[in-house]
Symmetry: C2
Subunit: 281 residues, 2 copies
């Protein structure tokens, strides 16, 4: 897919993605293609913002009267919370946001669609996660987001593993409190009980990383997913594929999340569907 974006004119509405680094970000290409497809005169631009400059940068962004929303990525997903006036349900559960929008009354609302993007990615691949039993390793921000979203999507059970035990315990307690019908267990390995095994640790990004978990006890029909986006085929996914497992790539999360975030932005009153090319027939 060749990304494109509509001609930018004085009345183009503005969105941004903030992160550091930002050169690798795929959101500008994804969102600008979405805006073209949706027929809205809007553009999303990448902003590289070092952590130390985040407060002044966000204050500046809020002062741009034609800027309606911000995608938030590493390392600002938690630090941004103090710049928000209210949080959506997913953001409250996860304690982090990946996007924020200006409300009609001028307040800024944050929400977290990383988990919903993962679930939407599974569904987009024709997979139905209802009643699944899931193995998840990594209970940091990404793991929390995915666990809460999968719980919300109706899985039956989840097994949590994190080398930082306090994170594992904390997420287990949170899930039990919010989703009382979900069966939550801790520790152990991915085995024959699991329909889906997910890596939500950074393990696999660096060359020479070990596999984040052993896959030799999984049933042949179990799906193996990795949230790591680069490399696209991590050692975990390569090993799973070699054993005949169906695999699920990290980029599906991002690609499916963009539409959800665009809808969140679209709910802002200022982003109206207008003929993008009206002036230039």
């Amino acid at each position: 897919m060749k990304p494109s974006n509509a001609p930018i004119t004085g009345d183009t509405r503005l969105f941004a993605i903030v992160g550091d680094p930002i050169a690798q970000a795929k959101s500008p290409a994804l969102f600008n293609q979405l805006f073209v497809d949706l027929g809205v005169n809007a553009v999303l631009v990448p902003l590289q913002i070092p952590s130390a400059r985040l407060p002044v940068a966000i204050a500046g962004l809020k002062a741009f009267a034609n800027l309606d929303g911000i995608v938030v990525t590493v390392p600002h997903k938690v630090a941004i919370l103090e710049h928000l006036d209210l949080l959506g349900a997913h953001a409250q559960a996860v304690g982090a946001v990946n996007c924020m929008r200006r409300l009609a009354d001028g307040r800024w609302e944050g929400e977290m669609y990383d988990g919903a993007g993962f679930v939407a990615g599974l569904h987009a691949q024709g997979l139905c996660s209802a009643n699944w039993r899931v193995f998840l390793t990594g209970c940091g921000g990404a793991g929390k987001a995915v666990a809460h979203a999968m719980a919300g999507a109706g899985i039956a059970a989840i097994r949590l593993v994190d080398s930082q035990l306090h994170r594992q315990h904390e997420l287990a307690e949170q899930l039990r409190a919010i989703h009382p019908r979900l069966h939550v267990s801790q520790g152990g390995v991915a085995d024959a009980e699991h329909d889906l095994a997910i890596n939500a640790t950074p393990c696999g990004m660096a060359e020479g990383d070990p596999l984040p978990f052993a896959i030799d006890k999984l049933r042949p029909d179990a799906i193996v997913a990795d949230l790591v986006m680069k490399p696209e085929r991590t050692p975990l996914l390569a090993a799973a594929e070699a054993r005949g497992h169906r695999i699920h790539l990290g980029r599906h999360l991002l690609e499916n999340q963009a539409a959800l975030v665009a809808a969140f932005f679209g709910a802002a009153t200022s982003l109206q569907a207008t003929p993008t090319h009206g002036e230039y027939p």
Copy 2:
């Protein structure tokens, strides 16, 4: 000309135009077309910034590590001065800027190309202003910029008229100090001595405005120019055309200024000419 811009990716360099209102701004279309033509992976976006928010907005823009330059338009051309570390020669003379760039050492330099854009616009129309005798009404920011640039381009004489006499006196003294060979006179009318008569007042923007100056004493070969951009054919230009004068439109300033400002931005180390579509063959 149908404006376009290159696909925006994570490593696209960013430029902005700040003003209020901003919806009418032509710079996004002009600059983004220029960036495409120059083969640079950069984009310029419109930012609507109310005057009261200018300080916080500019502080924010300076915190964006991948933003290299800002075009400054009404009403911020003078107020922006306190946010700059140094000024170019034109900006110093005029006391206002229309653009600013980040230098390699992190400082911000402002410059004023409104006047140079007007002169370049004349030249682009095949007109040679050397040794011209010019009539100019309106000694505010736009008039000052045009007067200084025309003086620098080698006109022989200029007659200044402004209903606010102190502005007329001040500009006359400035011009005499910087351009000792230029003949500067004040008051009076546009008459047979003038090769070019310029309106640099807002007169002509509102319906029912009177002509900013009488044109009945001009020679038939004199050129009449208006800095007002909307309407494109002001009552002054319509009257001049009806009398057989060659006219010069306000938009020529803007169109020719964009290339000058892009060059000013391009001198910043970060804006390198790179294949824009490298990733998407």
